[in-house]
Symmetry: C2
Subunit: 200 residues, 2 copies
């Protein structure tokens, strides 16, 4: 074994000791609240990646998509193929600038939140994705207090993933894992269409 190889091995042994100690300290298992926020691309897709991951473990999942849904998306088409494992609800009214009707938006949010509440009360559901929930909170179409109360009372092993830009601080405070996704650059800004498999 040459010197560089030995150095690499020693460095990696030290690194492994640090990693192993951190893994040994991380013993708690419970349902997590994950918040994916910021203005960059990747929040909803990350939530859907966790849905796929959970499906790989044979878990049951609930998906509630707020705001989105005038047109069917790739994720909806795909995950609706697993009705036994995935309960899928879409608010379906489209963006606020499409409805242009606050009362209609609030009524649709209310009806959609009722679906979310049912999932957040169901101990058979291992993971609930509340896609773009932060947007309806930002517009005050739903009160954060109701959300926090429902999250606090949910089954203890249930994970909840909440996406959307501008997550309220009160939600960040109760979350276990929070990622802020910052858009360094975005193809749309340079005139490239939203494309199938990427944004749609």
């Amino acid at each position: 074994m040459n010197k560089e190889t030995q150095r690499h091995q020693r460095r990696m042994q030290r690194h492994k000791a640090v990693v192993d100690a951190a893994v040994a300290r991380a013993t708690e298992e419970r349902g997590l609240i994950l918040v994916l926020t910021g203005n960059g691309k990747g929040k909803s897709s990350s939530g859907f990646g966790m849905v796929a991951r959970a499906l790989g473990h044979g878990l049951k999942i609930g998906v509630v998509q707020f705001i989105k849904g005038r047109f069917s998306t790739g994720e909806e088409a795909f995950f609706r193929r697993f009705p036994e494992e995935v309960q899928y609800h879409v608010m379906g009214t489209g963006f606020t600038w499409e409805t242009q009707d606050k009362d209609k938006d609030i009524a649709a949010t209310e009806a959609t939140w009722t679906k979310a509440e049912a999932l957040l009360n169901d101990p058979d559901i291992a993971l609930v994705l509340l896609d773009e929930l932060n947007i309806v909170l930002k517009h005050s179409y739903l009160q954060i207090e109701r959300v926090l109360e429902t999250l606090a009372k949910r089954p203890p092993q249930q994970h909840v993933v909440i996406t959307g830009r501008a997550a309220p601080q009160a939600l960040i405070d109760v979350a276990d894992t929070v990622t802020e996704m910052n858009g360094v650059k975005h193809a749309f800004q340079i005139g490239i269409k939203a494309q199938k498999g990427i944004e749609l």
Copy 2:
């Protein structure tokens, strides 16, 4: 219609005009390079969300997981259920601090990159996910020049998603969309285990 309702409607009409103009400007359709980097949770899961989205559109996909793979993950178990649509390759040697063997890591990277090259040459593959590629680039197990050259020559409509912390600047320069995922907090830091459906 009351005053507040009218105000909301006018505000949303103005917003819609801005959005519509941006959508009208975004006319180009071509394969994108997306880079998901930063130290926060969500990079790989976002890549896998795009895989799910692409499957929803009936597209064919290639997945190459660098680094990871001593144990099978939820995403691997799930996406291997679709062998007609998803070509799935895992480097399978585990993390650098597990192998503790640089030569072995380099040889494994080389073999895995060969799989990636085949996908990046195949016009039938609409989306290629190169999960944790940034890590092997960071360790110089693979030269960035080879990656850039292969990306430049790929089929023009093919999308490529590259994940991993510490993306090299040269890759960011050629990418169309770049998100930096910053970990505001992470459950692991407060002693919570990596959990099925979330990290695994």
